[in-house]
Symmetry: C2
Subunit: 501 residues, 2 copies
């Protein structure tokens, strides 16, 4: 049995190496690769991913998993080896249900629609993508149907990213959240907009870079096991537990761009760097879900990085780095600037309060599309109506409307947006629990220290990788299931003070 | 038959993608990887190389090659498809002769001896490596014996790097070369050593970097299909025809370090960038041999980059970049500095004239070791004696003697050193032929233009990749076989003028 387990680990290690290699190639593609390398690079990544998929779906893996079944039953649920077999079986069963021919069709289609979208968006040309988006919808439905027995057709798609989540759980959660947010936003936008002109000055790149690195180093991001580079879209990637990298982009005329994206990606990276070393090379050595991953990026970016306590320590240091730009700007003005709430059309640049409405709109639209209640051709119209209802404004064009997010034009319809709001919800729930257990966390933040919080998160969340399901992890960490109450409390307390709600 | 050829190309493309991925991972390892990534990275590269080797030795390849035999016979020798089948068969037959178990033993051994050497060299401890080097010798012999029928046991090892070369051809070539070099060096070293203190000033890195890039851009290195980064040891690597990268290292107190290594690596890169586009993804899309590759690095670094004509154009520009350091240094002083000849102990920093003696010493020692005429334990002594005889000086320690080169401590004994001197010889032969056909090349160099030379090299050498053997390529390019005469003429003319030989 020991030999079979070793053989399973060896095969999974090989798959892990192929996927890590693909990740390195992708990192290079977006950071340093010369333009001439593009075509070959796309092919090389596709080859690595295909070989990894072939190896994962090889009958040898299925046989080993069958043979290990009785062994697994003798292990405690919490044992690493039990987790390894469990997660390997889940991944194997997911992979073998989807025919290779479908995978190929789907990845060819996404490459095509992505190319068309990159041209259609600047041209404001929804008609150009419409037939391709119809095919995406069709393929998303087909993919879900490889996993029969679902309650709602979106459930299998959500399950890839946020295991255990489903429409019947998310719908009430999100509508309850919306019920709180819409009036909160209406009260806020009736007041004068915060002045964030202090962020829109000239801030030389090198100093922004150094300041951001100093902040995340203090968070606990280990630069001997990571690095930061520039890319068009910030992201986090992992090649091994000893090599978890982030990227950012810098705007010299907007201080908030690099600073908050650096903290955001560092949150993801802290999670990945915090997985226990002995899970290295196994399928357990990764964050468990989109929602829990976002909870960490949001926690470090927003609950920490946009908090007054944080800036009590860091603002004098920021002023030292930029004396001409910020020397005469009071802390309170700066704090209000980085927490400015404003109705807007673009999700990725939305503030903490309005952000979730953008997500909820997309999620509701996905449900309607997958259920067949909404036709792709009617999307732009429904998008505009919904923005008017929820945010009190509507885009004058599709570029800032239904064409804005890359997701539907590079992947599935369904399964990707819910993670952002689940992350926001969990970030508050985890932070509240951590502070409840260790009230000194708040004083530490004021001193630019994050050790107690970081250690708590490592112990409760990071170290486990994906050995437990997201809901198991939350219950173990918090002693209670997912709930939006802490998040609502957080928003009401913070923005109540800022906007006298 | 067409289907079989397509299937062969597909399989070879997959192998190519795996090897390209390993190359990207290696490039990252030496340029940007944080230290924490080291262990996993070594494993990932090993996995990719192993999978590529498994795929190359798969019986499916052998069957396709057998099936394509009659098709190949109908093609002209010069046809790309004939070359593809021919080179694929050579690679396949080489790969299947060596058992996987030997490959694993050998790669474990080289990892071990390399680790020991990195400590033994600074500690000047030959005794620490001796037993491992004996094993390397033993494994090198075993590897050669997988290719029976050789004239000399070194021949199969040479054949991996310089196909068609063998001891019986190299011995007379190198001893003839030595016959010319030893008296030339004796005459030179009897004269005062050139003053190269102008190179040993402070030269800020950014300006060195910009100057080097400008030079190689003018050579014809396409920066949209390549880039330069820093690494501890300069090298060239290729991920596709559209992505051929070089690295260099910069010393702010030594102008010659980055400048000449940049030109050297650019020579390798020009060769790889110059392969015909329709060979992309096939085993033909690479330079043909170690010797021909070195011929290009040496041609661009030495025959161009250390020529007076080159500096007629570039020296005023270099003075502009470094007015304080070089403004009052005459061209002739600078030219003599970059062509200083001096007996020395270290191959990698040797000048053009003495360099080949270092190589010839190693080659003769390899022959003696492989033939059993020399025991590993006697190596340090023989090394010292030979340096005394050939260069008139001997190392006072093994660090600067037998421990200096990484080659024997990270690979085979035999097969790697001859390429450097073959490269020197061919560089002069190719350059003489090009100038004979296009005398305007010399005037162009004085104007900082290299188009005629670059095009000639592309047409005669680069475009073909490895479709032809090295000797076929030389005969096609030059109309005559390999000969040392042009190289001797080149050295006598250049150093005759500098040292009144």
């Amino acid at each position: 049995m020991e030999a079979k387990l070793q053989e399973l680990k060896r095969l999974l290690g090989e798959i892990n190496d192929l996927n890590a290699a693909a990740a390195v190639l992708h990192w290079d593609q977006t950071t340093y690769m010369p333009t001439g390398g593009a075509a070959a690079r796309a092919r090389q990544i596709a080859t690595l991913r295909r070989l990894a998929h072939e190896k994962l779906t090889h009958p040898a893996i299925g046989k080993l998993l069958d043979a290990l079944h009785s062994y697994e039953e003798c292990l405690s649920y919490d044992a690493d080896e039990a987790g390894l077999i469990r997660i390997a079986r889940r991944d194997y069963e997911r992979a073998v249900r989807v025919p290779a021919s479908f995978m190929e069709k789907f990845s060819n289609h996404t490459a095509t629609i992505y190319e068309i979208w990159t041209k259609a968006r600047p041209a404001n040309d929804f008609a150009a993508v419409q037939p391709y988006l119809e095919k995406t919808l069709d393929l998303s439905r087909q993919l879900a149907d490889f996993f029969p027995g679902y309650e709602h057709i979106i459930d299998p798609l959500i399950d890839f990213a946020d295991e255990g989540m489903k429409a019947s759980l998310l719908r009430p959660l999100l509508s309850e959240l919306r019920r709180h947010l819409v009036p909160m936003i209406q009260t806020i936008i009736a007041q004068p907009v915060a002045d964030d002109s202090c962020l829109q000055q000239q801030f030389p790149e090198a100093k922004q870079w150094a300041f951001g690195l100093e902040v995340i180093r203090r968070f606990g991001y280990d630069l001997e096991r990571g690095r930061q580079d520039k890319s068009h879209h910030p992201f986090t990637t992992k090649f091994s537990l000893g090599d978890v990298r982030i990227t950012t982009r810098v705007k010299e005329d907007d201080l908030s761009e690099a600073l908050f994206s650096t903290m955001h990606e560092a949150g993801h990276a802290l999670y990945e760097q915090g997985v226990r070393g002995d899970l290295e090379g196994t399928p357990l050595a990764h964050g468990v879900s989109s929602g829990l991953h976002e909870s960490q990026s949001r926690l470090w970016e927003n609950l920490i990085g946009r908090s007054r306590r944080f800036w009590l320590y860091f603002y004098p240091r920021l002023q030292e780095a930029f004396p001409h730009q910020l020397g005469s700007v009071p802390l309170d003005t700066f704090y209000r600037a980085v927490n400015k709430v404003k109705r807007s059309l673009i999700r990725t640049s939305a503030d903490e309060v309005t952000y979730n409405l953008h997500v909820i709109i997309r999620f509701d639209i996905e449900l309607a599309l997958l259920e067949g209640r909404l036709m792709v051709r009617d999307l732009p119209e429904v998008w505009r109506e919904r923005y008017q209802t929820d945010l009190g404004m509507m885009p004058s064009n599709d570029r800032d409307g239904v064409l804005q997010d890359v997701h539907w034009y590079s992947g599935l319809i369904g399964g990707e947006f819910q993670g952002y709001t689940l992350g926001n919800i969990m970030s508050a729930q985890l932070f509240e629990t951590a502070v409840g257990a260790h009230p000194e966390i708040l004083q530490e933040i004021e001193q630019g220290e994050f050790g107690t919080l970081h250690n708590w998160l490592k112990e409760k969340i990071y170290q486990h990788g994906c050995k437990f399901t997201p809901s198991e992890l939350i219950v173990r960490a918090i002693g209670a299931p997912l709930s939006i109450e802490p998040y609502i409390r957080y928003l009401k307390s913070k923005y109540g003070e800022l906007y006298r709600l």
